[in-house]
């Protein structure tokens, strides 16, 4: 298919726990086991609707969806996932699952009859799950060759993003649109995902039309499998007006993936038609300079108060190249001092060009996030 070699690429699957079910210890254990076997697992989290699961599966262009169900209703839920994937034109995406003893052997027969590929019951070894998934989904996909054309929906866009891989694209075909591309970087634990999600919440509430794309990054473990779990906590970004894609760094240093630049060009194109494209790096160290990328219009550095010690700040090279610095988690006791330190550092290194915002992204409707959003949209 397309131009990338599937055999050498990790299998990408989506895992989730159904609506009104919070039993996530089994799915987390399976996620962990699969990552060690080299899978890229996009984890959507628990208490997720059929719509959220199918939307994510299509946008992430995974080979299969794995659902872990523990408190009943699985007969209906799995069927709805299979049916909605078909309605949305992606019946090639497999559906498998597992759960506690509430799923009986008779249920398994019934679920397979309506299109579920496999159900792993309690006591199944991780080795068996891995083997079976490779057998089911490891042989490439049974779907039409995907052209480097954009179909006018998320499905086509998602397949294009899979196909471009790390290759250069035809720039004439992907003419840059009016989308504003905003990059968020910063150390792990600074609250970048929450900040973006709160940004999206405010955007969707204030703008009755328009769409946003989000490109997030997570590190690959041992340069292979990876847990891509940003969706699990970004609840407001699970919306039909948001296109979200999760990338694993696949061995690339510096906060991005090999295909980031190309993906951004596609997402920022006229054809894709987004108003804003938000890109989040993995949690970076002090030395990282992820935004050499020319596609990014505004570079935002997100810090939390514990990073406020002056001696550490001097080492953060991003301070020099950021357009905006956000000090998040202002509810922490150390915030007041950190604000002073960051402001001082900015004044030393940037001749006052850098804008500083204070946010508490975990607070609903936080004033600082609203101000930041207005600045970035302006």
């Amino acid at each position: 298919m397309g131009c990338s070699d599937l055999a050498s690429e990790p299998l990408r699957i989506l895992t989730a726990v159904p609506l009104c079910d919070g039993h996530d210890s089994a799915v987390m254990a399976v996620n962990q086991a699969l990552i060690l076997q080299g899978y890229e697992v996009v984890y959507l989290g628990y208490h997720r609707s059929v719509q959220d699961i199918v939307r994510a599966a299509i946008q992430e262009d995974v080979v299969a969806v794995g659902i872990s169900s523990y408190n009943g209703g699985h007969l209906e839920f799995f069927r709805e996932v299979v049916e909605l994937l078909e309605v949305k034109g992606r019946c090639d995406i497999g559906v498998f699952g597992g759960g506690g003893g509430t799923i009986t052997p008779a249920d398994v027969v019934l679920m397979k009859s309506y299109g579920v590929d496999e159900i792993f019951l309690a006591g199944t070894s991780f080795e068996f799950i891995d083997e079976r998934l490779r057998e089911l989904y490891g042989g490439g996909r049974d779907r039409a060759e995907c052209e480097l054309e954009i179909a006018n929906d998320d499905r086509g866009l998602a397949m294009v993003l899979s196909s471009v891989g790390s290759l250069e694209i035809d720039r004439k075909k992907w003419v840059r649109g009016s989308a504003k591309v905003i990059g968020f970087t910063g150390p792990g634990g600074a609250g970048k995902s929450t900040l973006i999600d709160e940004w999206v919440r405010g955007y969707l509430a204030d703008h009755p039309v328009g769409r946003v794309a989000i490109l997030t990054h997570d590190p690959s473990s041992m340069e292979r499998g990876g847990l891509l779990a940003d969706r699990a906590s970004m609840v407001y970004a699970q919306d039909d007006r948001v296109f979200m894609r999760s990338l694993a760094t696949r061995g690339r240093q510096g906060g991005f993936a090999p295909s980031t630049e190309v993906c951004l060009r596609v997402l920022a194109s006229v054809a894709a038609g987004f108003d804003h494209v938000l890109v989040e790096t993995v949690g970076t160290g002090q030395e990282a300079l992820p935004f050499e990328n020319s596609v990014i219009d505004t570079k935002v550095l997100v810090l939390h108060p514990e990073y406020g010690a002056r001696v550490q700040l001097q080492k953060i090279l991003m301070m020099d190249s950021a357009d905006v610095v956000v000090l998040n988690k202002t509810d922490w006791a150390s915030a007041a001092r950190a604000v002073e330190e960051v402001a001082h550092q900015i004044s030393l290194s940037n001749e006052g060009e850098v804008r500083l915002y204070q946010t508490q992204a975990s607070e609903h409707g936080n004033v600082g996030v609203t101000e930041l959003r207005k600045d970035l949209l302006g």
Binding site: C20, S25, Q51, G73, S233
Partner: protein, 545 residues
């Protein structure tokens, strides 16, 4: 210590031997006596290692039958009527009515039965409660003003709304004064939800505000009610080790105490209204885990909070471990549960729920519910183990070794939580979650490798044993009935609901007591309507992985 000389003439049933109601170690050196009294204490005395009360399960001295059986059986299935029928079945021969309620998935997540995508889950694993009318039906035929009736509701995220429905339903039936005599508890432990069980509706700060409003209201209006059940059970079920269960649960408890104190409620007003809920599994730590918890709590409440004797008491409900049960050769679960019950009573639990052997694959059937219930009666009433003598194994070298080891590990966890900024700070760092997840992963690996032995599953497994009894499922007709009922309620109250929800939003906005308002709101609004409105006002919880 002269109680040592009190002998029970009825002692041993078989031979008529005489046993002391309270056997004590033979100590004559003053230092050893002091160490015993300070480190362990007599039953019902600080630091309450042995038990919260001096008598616990002993037969009354006058030979009369004990008043109240401390069995509490969990029920919840289908609609309110069906669960109500189960309650009547469970309690028909009991003088006291202890009604413990499980709710279905949609209710646990604050959703109505007519919400998109929940149909398959209506009434599964618990009862569907959408409105105050469902709550009335649920307890129909029970006198909620009777001191012998106590109700326990296992719900957390939407606990304030569900509790408001309970109060409103009780008032409808028994008049406004009933609130002074309402007995029972609502779980409402939002910290453990964030750490392990994941039923959280609102951001942590708002969830805590709604909870504290309810607790504050409860201690002043419902003096007999326990407005929170600080729960290790779900932390343990999510995969925590016994020590993690104890450490996170106790630290959560101290956190709530701290928050109530900050609200300006005096320690001796709120502390006696706190209660705990622990899991008891088959691991050796459980022979002493709850004993140590009682001791640590007592010391903390006395030394840090300055609480009086009643405030120092950790009162606990114990449930046998659902996680220890397996589908494979499921009748072995009877033995597992019996063993766990035995350890729970050795730890002097104040009440106990024993799981049904068929739980791994179905909502418990009547047959196994009855076996679980009778198991407790056999242990407490038929057997002589707990009827004649308190504290049978206290002070044994093995027990003391476990106590010391467990206590020291719990204190290490406390130190780590403190280092991360206390319970809330540690939560923000995902500390408790990641520790629990790692333990869960280890546990599963141990079962798969056979290192953790599970008879009938990875040891002495018999591949022919595949027959499981039938599964209890809720029919579509029952689900439809519930769905239509909540629709009709919302239709009937359409205009009043809009006004009531705006009133609720105003209280949220102006900082008033949200729970006091909810008691009014539930008269005309469904659970789902209230959840949606509150989420609009304060936001949706962003899950942690």
């Amino acid at each position: 210590m002269e109680r040592d000389s009190e002998f029970d003439p009825a002692g041993g049933d078989a031979t008529g031997i005489s046993l002391p109601r309270l056997p004590l170690p033979e100590l004559d050196e003053p230092g050893a006596i002091a160490r015993y009294l300070c480190g362990e204490g007599l039953p019902g005395e600080f630091p309450f290692l042995s038990s919260a009360y001096p008598e616990m399960y002993l037969d009354p001295e006058d030979g009369s039958k004990p008043q109240e059986e401390p069995t509490r059986l969990f029920a919840g299935l289908g609609t309110a009527e069906e669960t109500n029928a189960r309650f009547h079945l469970l309690t028909k021969s009991q003088k006291s009515h202890r009604l413990s309620t499980a709710f279905d998935g949609p209710t646990l997540y604050g959703m109505d039965s007519d919400a998109d995508g929940v149909f398959g889950k209506i009434g599964e694993g618990g009862v569907a409660v959408d409105t105050v009318e469902d709550m009335e039906r649920l307890f129909d035929g029970f006198d909620l003003s009777d001191p012998q009736t106590s109700v326990s509701m296992t719900i957390n995220g939407p606990a304030p709304t569900i509790m408001a429905m309970y109060v409103a339903a009780a008032k409808r039936r028994f008049g406004p004064n009933v609130e002074k005599v309402l007995r029972g508890t609502v779980q409402a432990d939002i910290l453990k939800e964030v750490q392990g069980q994941n039923e959280v509706l609102f951001p942590v700060a708002s969830s805590l505000r709604f909870l504290l409003d309810m607790m504050e209201y409860s201690v002043s209006h419902f003096p007999k009610w326990y407005p929170i059940s600080i729960s290790g059970y779900h932390i343990s079920q999510a995969g925590a080790t016994p020590v993690q269960q104890a450490a996170y649960t106790l630290s959560n408890g101290f956190s709530y105490a701290d928050m109530m104190r900050e609200q300006g409620v005096a320690v001796d007003v709120f502390a006696p209204r706190l209660s705990f809920f622990f899991d008891c599994g088959v691991d050796v730590e459980f022979i002493a885990l709850s004993r140590v918890c009682r001791k640590i709590w007592a010391i903390g409440m006395r030394e840090v909070f300055g609480g009086d004797n009643r405030s120092q008491l950790l009162k606990m409900h114990t449930q046998t471990s659902g996680r220890s049960l397996v589908s494979a050769e499921f009748k072995n679960n009877l033995t597992r549960t019996a063993l766990e019950m035995m350890m729970a009573y050795m730890n002097a639990t104040n009440s106990c729920h024993s799981n049904s052997a068929d739980e791994p694959f179905t909502t418990p059937s009547e047959e196994y519910v009855k076996l679980a219930s009778h198991g407790q009666s056999i242990l407490l009433e038929e057997s002589g183990l707990f009827r004649h003598m308190m504290n049978g194994l206290s002070g044994s070298p093995g027990m003391k070794a476990v106590e010391r080891a467990v206590e020291s590990e719990i204190l290490k966890e406390f130190a780590e939580i403190e280092r991360l900024g206390g319970v809330l700070g540690a939560m923000e760092h995902r500390y408790q979650r990641s520790q629990i997840q790692a333990a869960s992963y280890r546990y599963e690996q141990q079962i798969l490798s056979g290192e953790r032995r599970v008879i009938g599953l990875n040891r002495y497994a018999d591949s022919n044993d595949a027959e499981l009894p039938s599964v209890v499922r809720v029919t579509d007709a029952v689900k439809l009935k519930q769905l239509e009922r909540v629709r009709a309620f919302k239709m009937k109250n359409k205009e009043a609901a809009a006004e009531a929800l705006d009133g609720l939003s105003q209280v949220v906005e102006n900082g008033g007591n949200v729970f006091a308002q909810l008691v009014e709101t539930v008269e005309v609004c469904s659970l789902g309507q209230i959840t949606e409105r509150l989420q609009r006002d304060v936001g949706i919880f962003r899950p942690m992985i």
